[in-house]
Subunit: 373 residues, 2 copies
DNA sequence: CCAACTTCCTTCGAAATCGAAGCCAAGACG
DNA sequence: CGTCTTGGCTTCGATTTCGAAGGAAGTTGG
């Protein structure tokens, strides 16, 4: 089921190849899933030289997922199929600083509304995914010492939402969701991926061997490495000269404010750069150099197949160009030999896709329930 | 078989728990393996509150592995059981710079001799493992652009040894072997491990999710990150101020030579430090600070369960203490919360163990051959 | 010492999985 | 336009795996 949902398999034959099961066993299982209403057969796929395969896809009635990707002042909401492909999206203005109860209540209410508006009221909700801009403990579904989410520390996000919604809930760091989504949507054949999210903050998600690497929950932090710079800036983490304090969207906004240019959201910086405002371009180039410097060490160490740059600032071309240049110049030839450096392809849907993917992997228990009937 | 060989399982019951197979299936398989002469039953294990398990172990006649861990001027040779537990070890002086053909021929001859001397001539050799101080392409078994192995670039080490010995051959970077061995011997329950090898060079092996992370073959390089220092030193890689150019055993030896202290081997530096020679202690402390600085970023990013420091320099206590201090001071609390920082426990046998472990995972095809008879 | 419990391991019928064989439906080719 | 080849899918008997039940061999605690 996971193989079909994620788009890796479209026919019984492909399922057999990818799953390692015998073709006959696959046929039996598919039969069951169709009978249970989870799969549907839909026409024929392209021939690979012989008989055309009968194309399999998820049935609409199989269910939907509701996903919310929370930022500092904004939430992206989506209703998606079980693989995470968005069926309906909307945006919600909300200040994460008002605290978890209020934010989460508003978000879940809006999610339900979104599904209802788009005629999905009759389809069962199989899960809710929440992306948060801070570290999440995978075991408990709690936020752990976030630097920019006052009131959220140790709040049991997963339990809170489960209690209110009564379905499996996935809580994950936003950059991690994006990494999984980007992997699934754009680079499914690559095993090792680094995905950088450049927005108000600097996030990073890591895919190792095709799976999200969480470490002990904090993996992927790149924003609190010490960098070299002329001016000293103290970071919220208590140390001086962290990358985030110099090169994040928030830091760039602060620096531009010093030049008398007021900026509300990182995307406005992208606009300024596109308009050729010299202070903005110069600031963005400096940030690119700092980020690139940090990434060189990590690329040498991790040796990924691709480095994907996403987040709203990834649309600032000079930023990406500078990062790319620094990495190709400083990294070992062996590490950059086959390295792809690209900007996000999934864009803002990345986290929705990622949530879908992760939920299929983790909480698939309801499938057994449906099959038993 | 792998579970028994690696020591993770000692009884049928443990095999069932760890493998996920039914107890009855495990019994059938074990029966076969005993009949084929690969397993032996040996007494009873400790009771866990009920009947005592019948202890399983690898039969002596199952075979041996021959392992050579090559350094710049020295090779460590071992004959080991199939799990990598050393049965006999010896040391061989050999200059790796004389080139691959001569070195490998001498090494394989000595390995055969070692097995013969220790009464292992009648036991079949199931594989040969070679550890090398440079990057190895896992797909081809070739050395790829090594910085300190003249004449070895692109030499097909695996094919060369296979042709001469006629058994499966594993070729792997020395730090990677050490990482696998350390994981298996000392931290089997931890999933994410960073192992640093401090000798003439600086190597690093990474265990992610219990398995060696190779990336595209170059993963684990930490020696060519740029660091900040007063004096500028050019590294062999062509960039200035790499970590290796300032903090490796070779760099320390060069710096001590500047003070009129001649050093042949990194272990002599350890002796100097133990003897309280101030220049040595100071040099080692500086190196520790540089290495620690580099590691902080990697620890934040990778978020391992443990950081293991090995190699001959790891016996210099001020070096390890400085590294530990820098990491605890600079890393995120979230990353160091549960982080163990320890020195190698497996010592010089680590690479032998690692080679055994890796060979069980990769080339287990011969097992089927034995069972078919 | 004995009863109650645990854990280890095997037995045996039920269920799942496999894989060879064959049928089906396409494209390739003369 | 028919034959050939290729890949997709199903059928069906053989094999593997499972799991409940039970015997074996311990520990624990009165």
């Amino acid at each position: 089921m996971r193989l079909v949902a994620t788009g890796r398999a479209e026919s019984r034959a492909e399922l057999a190849r990818l799953s390692g099961l015998a073709a006959s066993s696959v046929s039996l299982r598919v039969e069951q899933l169709i009978a249970a209403g989870l799969f549907a057969e839909e026409g024929a796929g392209a021939s690979r030289g012989g008989r055309r395969p009968r194309r399999l896809r998820l049935a609409r009635e199989a269910g939907v997922l509701l996903v919310a990707d929370l930022g500092a002042h904004h939430a992206r909401l989506a209703a998606a199929d079980l693989a995470g492909t968005p069926l309906a999206v909307s945006d919600l203005a909300c200040d994460i600083a008002v605290g978890p109860e209020e934010t989460l209540t508003a978000v879940t209410r809006s999610l339900r509304g979104l599904a209802r508006e788009h005629g999905l009221a009759d389809v069962p909700v199989r899960g809710i995914g929440i992306g948060l801009p801070g570290p999440v403990d995978p075991a408990t579904g709690q936020v752990v010492s976030p630097s920019r989410m006052p009131g959220w520390n140790d709040f049991p996000v997963r339990d809170f939402v489960t209690r209110h919604a009564g379905v499996p809930v996935l809580v994950e760091n936003d950059a991690n969701l994006m990494a999984v989504g980007e992997h699934r949507a754009s680079w499914p054949s690559l095993d090792n991926l680094m995905v950088i999210k450049l927005g108000s903050g600097i996030g990073c998600g890591v895919i190792v061997d095709g799976r999200l690497h969480r470490g002990r929950g904090a993996a992927g932090d790149i924003s609190h490495v010490r960098i070299l710079s002329e001016a000293t800036v103290d970071c919220s983490c208590g140390h001086p000269d962290c990358l985030e304090a110099h090169a994040s969207g928030a830091a760039l906004a602060a620096s531009l404010a010093g030049h008398g240019i007021a900026v509300q959201h990182p995307s406005e910086i992208v606009d300024l750069v596109a308009d050729g405002v010299p202070q903005a371009t110069s600031a963005v180039r400096t940030a690119g150099r700092l980020i690139g410097d940090v990434l060189t060490g990590l690329v040498n160490f991790f040796n990924p197949d691709a480095l994907v740059i996403g987040g709203s600032l990834s649309n600032a071309e000079p930023l990406v160009a500078t990062i790319r240049g620094v990495i190709y110049e400083r990294c070992l030839p062996l590490a950059t030999r086959n390295l792809e450096i690209a900007t996000s392809r999934a864009g803002r849907d990345g986290s929705v896709l990622g949530a879908g993917q992760l939920m299929l992997e983790t909480s698939g228990a309801w499938i057994d329930g449906v099959l038993e009937r």
